[in-house]
């Protein structure tokens, strides 16, 4: 039996391990010093402590990971998402060391990683937003005036919303250019910036692709417009915004882009959608956080397909074999203050996920687990499937009410509010959704709150040393959030 190293942590490592077992591969893992009690370790047949706490000393340290693969005798590596999943240097080293990287080829990853280059190639077959990489401040001014304000500045080699600046008038351009460049240098070690026309309040729709060298398949689209700070919070498929024709159009365009880029393995083509027009954004060369909704409506295990493609067995399915059935929604539950979205690690007191048919919970949480301060705040993905969209909204709401995560705050209240919002129920929402969201609670719960507020000291659910850690961590994390965001978020949703 072949051994595979899962070079990741948390829920995605567990998710990958499950498919490995199904495929008769032996899942092996790594864990940092901060992850000695992480659940993913238990799901691996063998696991090695690679030391370190911060990502750069652990899950981002290429040498340590290659070393672990050799020690564990793994000739396959699945990178999961984040960390090294889209790192071209890593794929090169894997190749050199004779380890099969589960993902696209180094060349394809190089192309998708360079947003400017990817856009240039995609523009042959897809509409793109007007813009280009700029060389200096004067160039930035010339280009912005040509395409017209508002414009958006982005780090060429960036991601995750960092380095992004929206500029509405010419006077603000210089400052935005400098700060975007700074953030890009700090975050990605690159000062390359590009400017494009800013599309205000679009929808964010993406297409899941599977491609080997002979066949390109699509697994439909995902609607991901519910975001804060460019990070997705709720995803659904199919998108309530697309007609049958539009769906065919976007999936065709996505396949053509993948063909032009000579891309192999699983990938996601992201688009902005406004007034009936699609604009190509980028290709994500990895398994995505929101992949489960696609799995639930197609019945296809995307991780399994990734491994098949990367190991040269190729796709075992054809487009005609893919049948789309029903509707799926995912809520990404984070360990964050539900009003400010500030990360809030701590000890999980009770963790009781909802159960039921067509409810899937991808998580690495358990009661008593202490959430480390070093990594992502995603703690659970709640995914529901149903035959109709209305049915599934109800199912998801009930599942959220039943979901017990105590001791730490979570974004569950946000999800409940969102699912009760008429804009969501009607399917008429865009990326500005969260700005106009109001909190939702029930009248009968108010008495419980009033009584509980009267009981002193029981309120001390967070221990003092944990709180200190949190404060430290929050301070670090706050570095990523602009002051404006904090002020806006702390004022609530209204």
């Amino acid at each position: 039996m072949q051994k595979i190293l899962i070079a990741n942590r948390g829920e995605i490592a567990i998710r990958i391990a499950q498919t490995c077992k199904k495929m008769n591969l032996i899942p092996c893992g790594i864990y940092s010093d901060a992850d000695t009690s992480s659940l993913h370790v238990k799901h691996c047949k063998e696991a090695i402590n690679i030391g370190g706490r911060l990502p750069q000393e652990s899950y981002l340290d290429i040498a340590k990971i290659i070393d672990a693969a050799k020690k564990l005798d793994c000739n396959l590596i699945h990178p999961g998402y984040g960390f090294l999943s889209e790192n071209q240097k890593f794929t090169k080293i894997c190749k050199r060391e004779g380890i099969t990287f589960i993902g696209p080829s180094t060349e394809a990853m190089g192309l998708t990683g360079d947003k400017v280059q990817a856009k240039k190639i995609a523009s042959k077959v897809a509409p793109v937003i007007e813009g280009r990489e700029i060389s200096n401040e004067t160039d930035a001014l010339t280009l912005s005036e040509k395409i017209g304000f508002p414009v958006i500045l982005k780090a060429v080699e960036g991601g995750g919303g960092r380095g992004l600046r929206i500029v509405k008038k010419i006077e603000d351009l210089k400052q935005a250019f400098l700060s975007s460049k700074n953030e890009s240098v700090l975050g990605f070690g690159s000062d390359r910036i590009y400017i494009e026309k800013y599309i205000e309040n679009p929808r964010h729709i993406e297409v899941q692709i599977l491609s080997d060298n002979s066949e390109i398949l699509h697994l439909g689209e995902r609607e991901c417009s519910i975001q804060r700070r460019h990070q997705k919070l709720i995803e659904e498929t199919p998108s309530p915004a697309l007609s049958h024709e539009k769906r065919n159009q976007i999936t065709d365009i996505a396949k053509n882009i993948i063909k032009e880029l000579d891309y192999d393995n699983a990938g996601t083509v992201e688009f902005l959608y406004k007034n009936g027009e699609f604009y190509f954004m980028e290709v994500n060369a990895r398994i995505q956080v929101e992949h489960p909704i696609t799995e639930l409506v197609t019945g296809i295990d995307i991780v399994e397909q990734q491994i098949q493609i990367a190991t040269g067995k190729g796709l075992l399915i054809k487009q005609k074999d893919i049948n789309f059935k029903g509707h799926a929604i995912e809520c990404r539950i984070n360990a964050e203050h539900p009003l400010s979205f500030i990360p809030y690690p701590g000890i999980v007191k009770n963790f009781i996920p909802p159960k039921g048919t067509n409810i899937r919970v991808d998580t690495a949480l358990y009661s008593g687990y202490s959430i480390p301060i070093y990594y992502d705040s995603l703690i659970s993905k709640l995914i529901c499937w149903g035959s109709s969209r209305n049915e599934i909204i109800e199912k998801m709401k009930n599942a959220l009410f039943e979901f017990r995560i105590s001791g730490i705050p979570s974004t569950i209240p946000f999800h409940i509010s969102a699912l009760n919002d008429t804009r969501f129920v009607d399917g008429k929402y865009d990326t500005s959704f969260i700005d106009k969201l109001t909190t939702f609670s029930e009248k009968k719960g108010e008495i419980a709150a009033a009584i509980f507020a009267q009981i002193p000291k029981k309120l001390q659910l967070v221990k003092t040393d944990e709180k200190n850690n949190q404060d430290k961590w929050m301070k670090n994390r706050l570095g990523w959030i602009s002051k404006y965001d904090i002020e806006r978020n702390l004022s609530g949703w209204v």
Binding site: L400, S406, I408, E446, I447, I451, A453, Q454, P456, V462
Partner: protein, 156 residues
């Protein structure tokens, strides 16, 4: 000695604002009344059952404007400012002896800051400020005995 905390209202009723509604809660041993109506409440560590309905307390934020997550929903709870900013004097909640005075006249104090320690029935009781404000007069000294309802200090 047992240390125990007492709010300005002591054991009597307290007004608490939840979201947009003010509730008057009265604790009397096992008996709880809400807005004057006796209710059947079963309390455990992180759960409250009221008249058969169970409410899970998922999270409670500390601070002036406290956020609670109950059954996955947010409740904003406050027990001061709006209601207690009108409080101009602190009265003794019981008969006892002042053992410590922790503030001076002219001090700016915060909500829930301890003002004085009062000993009664072999228990040390913390008397906390119900509001933020500046102290005008302190009417008592250390070791002085006070009676229920005596004015301890006043706010400007």
């Amino acid at each position: 000695m047992i240390l125990r905390e007492i709010s300005q209202d002591g054991y009597s009723s307290m007004k608490i604002q939840v979201n947009d509604t003010i509730y008057e809660i009265e604790f009397n041993d096992e008996l709880i009344t809400v807005n004057g109506k006796k209710i059947d409440v079963n309390l455990s560590d992180d759960k409250i059952t009221i008249e058969g309905n169970t409410f899970n307390i998922d999270f409670v934020e500390e601070g002036d404007l406290s956020m609670m997550i109950i059954n996955g929903m947010i409740y904003l709870v406050s027990r001061e400012n709006s209601i207690y900013s009108l409080v101009n004097e602190i009265r003794s909640p019981m008969n006892g002896r002042i053992i410590t005075v922790l503030v001076n006249e002219g001090d700016l104090v915060n909500n829930s800051q301890i003002l004085v320690m009062l000993e009664a029935m072999k228990m040390q009781n913390q008397i906390r400020s119900p509001r933020k404000g500046t102290i005008k007069n302190i009417n008592i000294v250390k070791d002085q005995t006070v009676k229920l309802g005596d004015i301890i200090l006043t706010f400007e």
